[in-house]
């Protein structure tokens, strides 16, 4: 009578065996929860968002900006030299990321955005003066905004022109097919967009309709 135990006793044994198996899997570094998009994916929040659940999210979600910085630092150490951004507008968070990549990490920044960037003219002129900054303006608003940092992708929640995104999904070391899909989208939007080579190409309608406080 090897397993002869009472009902609850046998239940405890079974649960114990499950726990032991899970510990062994963990020790063998076999993931118990496999991520569907890459090595790890997490929800992220936007600091600028005026969302109602913002306070709740604050306790358990990283910010998009913080996540991007963390990933950029990690990837630059591995030798990454470029970052690709599909944006609607160049809000404060994007500006911070661009500045961080251009000035501190000396990376190439490829960005495609919609007309009317909501970016201060001085900042934009400063960016354009940097040869590592490649800006293109799309006629149509890109629906899904994303940042591709090597094999990592940040996908923003769909948002309108007047509101920044509330939530985003950060995918670390995305699977090849996921990465290829997002790279293809970026390349097709980037290819079709109008290139801004110098600040002479900027005009009020195309680029700067920034109004402080809006």
């Amino acid at each position: 009578m090897v397993f002869s135990t009472s009902g609850i006793g046998s239940l405890v044994i079974d649960v114990g065996i499950v726990i032991v198996i899970l510990v062994v899997l963990k020790m063998l570094k076999i993931p118990i929860v496999v991520d569907p998009f890459g090595e790890k994916s997490v929800h992220l929040r936007n600091e600028q968002s005026k969302d109602k659940d913002r306070i709740f999210n604050k306790f358990w979600l990283k910010t998009g900006r913080g996540w991007k910085k963390e990933i950029i630092d990690k990837e630059v150490k591995k030798g990454l030299q470029e970052i690709k951004i599909v944006a609607g507008e160049i809000y404060e968070g994007t500006r911070e990321t661009i500045r961080y990549c251009l000035e501190e990490k000396r990376m190439k920044v490829f960005i495609v955005a919609e007309q009317g960037l909501k970016c201060p003219t001085e900042d934009l002129k400063e960016f354009i003066a940097n040869p590592n900054f490649k800006l293109r303006i799309s006629d149509k608003r890109p629906e899904h905004h994303k940042t591709i940092i090597g094999q990592n992708i940040l996908l923003e929640e769909y948002h309108t022109r007047h509101d920044p995104y509330k939530k985003a999904l950060g995918i670390e070391n995305a699977y090849a097919d996921v990465l290829e899909y997002h790279n293809d989208i970026f390349n097709s939007i980037f290819r079709d967009a109008q290139e801004i080579k110098s600040d002479l190409d900027l005009d009020e309608k195309t680029v700067c309709i920034f109004k402080p406080g809006k």
Binding site: V2, D14, V18, E143, H144
Partner: protein, 110 residues
Amino acid sequence: MIPETSEIMLIGIIGSIIATTLSLTILNISMTHRLFRTGITPVLMATLLFSFSWITSLVYIITGTAVSWILELTIHLLFIGAIFILLSIFTYLIKIDEILFYMRGNKRTL
């Protein structure tokens, strides 16, 4: 009323076959659809355990011995396998929010 050993064994054998078929189906879905990949490890474990329970049932039939520990082992294996199936459902529930978020804009890659 306590059921006879042969009756329990019959339940064990049928249970093993149904459970193995079910877990193999879930495993197949997990391997082909990205959405269900989250719980692939627990499902794989469950499939292994269900297969073992099927083997123990077969051993019982072939040897014809009325040894109760084989019977109990079969039931334990089935039970642990069921816990792993529940665990895989749980892992799916953990990721469902992220999957739905991704699906909203990128259906083509799923």
